[in-house]
Symmetry: C2
Subunit: 447 residues, 2 copies
């Protein structure tokens, strides 16, 4: 028997905007950040639950406030009870009748719920001595169905259908686990393609990506058409005809513009067009999918919840579904989304990068392979080689493959030294940065 | 020339849950609250801008944090510049490239943007010496078009089409203003219909509503079918056959359940079914609309932004569009939504009630009548007789009609004494409440 005695939040920000890492058509100067939560109990076993919301700088403080608003659901609660029925625990958060008004199930509040739910999964996996993907892979189909909130889903996926999908995959779990441990899970990389990079840097990084074993790279597009054409020519020349190139417009276009623009990029053999328009525009994505076929449409990193994913699938608006570990209501809602994708026969290629998203989302893809879709066909996890050094168990990616994590937990635990250094605005880095800025400003005044 | 010198936020909460006012199938115990913002300049003219996010209790602190995250866009800025081009000002908020990650344009962060945008409109109207509805009604069609962000709308509404709608309505503005001043704007009331009220209270309040001149009342439904049937029978008997009765399920149902349930309520001659399912479920609303026809489907109070309203209209998913003054990105986004409704020929019947929503949203309906749709046919504004006494210029509703406000501003200014008393947790009311609670708890321990 143990009790939650502390829920600690930290506003951690990395100064990534200084290098234009992460720059795209909508996000010009991101400072990759984490609204970080640590759940501590009095169990004495040393296990803590760690989770986070990923943001890109300003607003990270709003997310820490949103996480703090959830602490009454945690402090003083019995840990074994919370972890024993994670379906009920998750529903308690999303059904808080007052907090629900801030969504429902979307935006800052919902992302905070995801962080807390994921922190509890991290704790549960550590207590079980298993990495999250394996913990989920040991749960029975019935237990997995109980994780899902089927409210608003029943016109597309019933509990019975979910059970059928999971039961069908059950006999092959051991065999696929062995295959995963032996061969890893495919990755692709976005590292070459940020919009702020020069053509020379793009060329160099694209060649390095191929040499590193990646079979797909991704380029940011959508700012200036002529630039996109030139950069795609550079990239295609660098990687040759056998490597796939996806493009990502980061919500830049309206419907007609997306179809027109992609008409110009189609000659470069595009693997998918990602986020062509607003993540809220289901009917818009459906029109774009019809207009750019056979180029597949991909979206999901900004899709707010399972209800929007359901409709994107119902409307045939996407051909590649991109889950994100830190946007929806945590592992539970992502299990629902994986089940929806399996029901509709759509492949899942997670969004990752940012801070800790690779570390977290790999567990969901590996679980999907082992126990849900049972397939790796056309599936791959995004990889960006940033900020992994700040995590206690950083991803292992080599030969273009993600290698299954073996450490117990959900991969979301950040190193205490990194949290201390990059906490905003009082950590060492930001304090010194403010001093340097002040000195520079004083210098300007003197001149 | 003046400068913004202070942006003050307050977490104001009213203890409405004690009386079950506002109780419905999803919101069992709301404490109607406002995350309140006051924008102060050094102009010396005494004019301030006031705005708020409406919430139902917990989470109001998250909204004040979200408003605080916006203050760098305000402090030190030139007021005349900000107010002169409210289209550009609004776009600056929604396009903050880092804050955008928390939405985009949805949830806690977007609601906070709405509060700040509305506070600036309040200030602009006060400076112009006009109530907001009249200020908007004096702007040219071109100026009004410039308020709108057409991103993600162009497949349904172009700037040219918006200009055409506004230009068509322009010649009749004066005549309709006179009609509005002489006859008011229709209201309907939800006061009788809260789920927590007894049948006797429902019967009494329904009769009072008819006596007060209302032509429509609304009942909360969706918890227990037998109760809904009994309550509708009571209400229909109380109001007679000529008064309309709408019902509101507050997102309680899945698609099939909504259609089935409404089949049971149809005999009571239902004016509309409101929020039958998730506000995110465009395709679900469309299926329900087909399934319950000819009963109109109404939704909007939780619809996050113009992109979702666009699709609800494109999919014929709603027949009654319910704008809300404090959910989307303020007056600017509501102008876009009114234009979309006019384009698709759908009537607008605003959501109101809560704290200050009646005071705020009446301006938008009156502006719509004067300068956009040019019609009151089938249109009416929700009225709930709660908490108006806390506002400097409370609504005037009598004879079942809203009477056009004449005081300069947007109606959103709360009385300083109310803010002081109900600020959470340190205002007088909550301080004394905590003391009373502590005394009661101490008593329990002694027993």
């Amino acid at each position: 028997m143990s009790t939650i005695i502390a829920v600690e939040t930290s506003d951690v920000r990395f100064p990534t905007s200084r290098e234009l890492d992460g720059s795209d058509a909508m996000n010009s100067d991101p400072d990759y950040s984490a609204a970080y939560v640590r759940v501590v109990s009095d169990s004495g076993d040393g296990h803590e639950g760690h989770g986070f919301v990923f943001t890109i700088g300003r607003g990270n403080d709003v997310e820490t406030a949103a996480i703090t608003a959830l602490t009454p659901h945690l402090l003083g609660r019995n840990v074994e009870e919370l972890l024993a029925d994670m379906g009920a625990t998750y529903k308690e958060f999303i059904n808080d009748s007052q907090l629900r008004w801030l969504g429902p199930e979307k935006g800052a509040m919902h992302m905070a719920i995801g962080a807390v739910v994921n922190a509890l999964w991290d704790l549960k996996a550590k207590r079980a001595g298993l990495p999250l993907w394996q913990l989920l892979g040991t749960m029975s189909p019935e237990e997995l169905v109980n994780l899902v909130d089927f409210r608003y889903l029943s016109d597309a996926l019933t509990p019975g259908e979910a059970l059928e999908i999971l039961s069908r995959a059950e006999p092959g779990r051991e065999e696929r686990t062995a295959a995963l441990l032996a061969g890893g899970y495919p990755g692709y990389t976005t590292s070459p393609g940020w919009l702020g990079y020069s053509d020379e840097k793009l060329d160099r990084l694209a060649r390095e990506a191929v040499a590193a074993g990646f079979k797909q790279i991704k380029l940011k597009v959508g700012a200036i058409l002529a630039d996109d054409v030139r950069r795609l020519r550079t990239a295609r020349a660098a990687v040759g005809p056998d490597i796939k190139i996806a493009v990502d417009a980061n919500q830049r276009w309206d419907v007609a513009e997306a179809i027109e623009w992609m008409g110009q990029l189609a000659p470069f053999d595009i693997a998918w067009i990602e986020e062509p328009t607003s993540p809220d525009d289901i009917l818009g994505h459906a029109a774009i999918a019809r207009g750019v076929a056979p180029i597949p449409v991909a979206t999901g990193e900004h899709v707010q919840n399972r209800v929007v994913f359901k409709q994107l699938l119902q409307a045939k608006a996407l051909q590649v579904l991109q889950i994100d570990a830190a946007r929806v209501g945590g592992v539970n809602e992502n299990v629902a989304i994986l089940l929806l994708a399996a029901k509709f026969g759509v492949r899942v290629c997670p969004h990752a990068g940012g801070v800790g998203l690779c570390e977290a989302v790999q567990h969901l893809s590996m679980f999907d392979y082992v126990a849900v879709s049972g397939s790796m066909d056309g599936r791959m996890i995004e990889f960006v080689d940033h900020l992994h050094e700040h995590f206690v168990t950083p991803v292992e990616v080599h030969g273009g493959q993600y290698w299954p994590p073996s450490a117990p937990g959900a991969g979301s635990e950040m190193r205490p030294a990194s949290i201390a250094e990059f906490t905003f605005p009082r950590g060492r880095f930001w304090r010194e940065d403010a001093q340097a800025q002040a000195a520079q400003d004083a210098g300007k005044v003197l001149v």
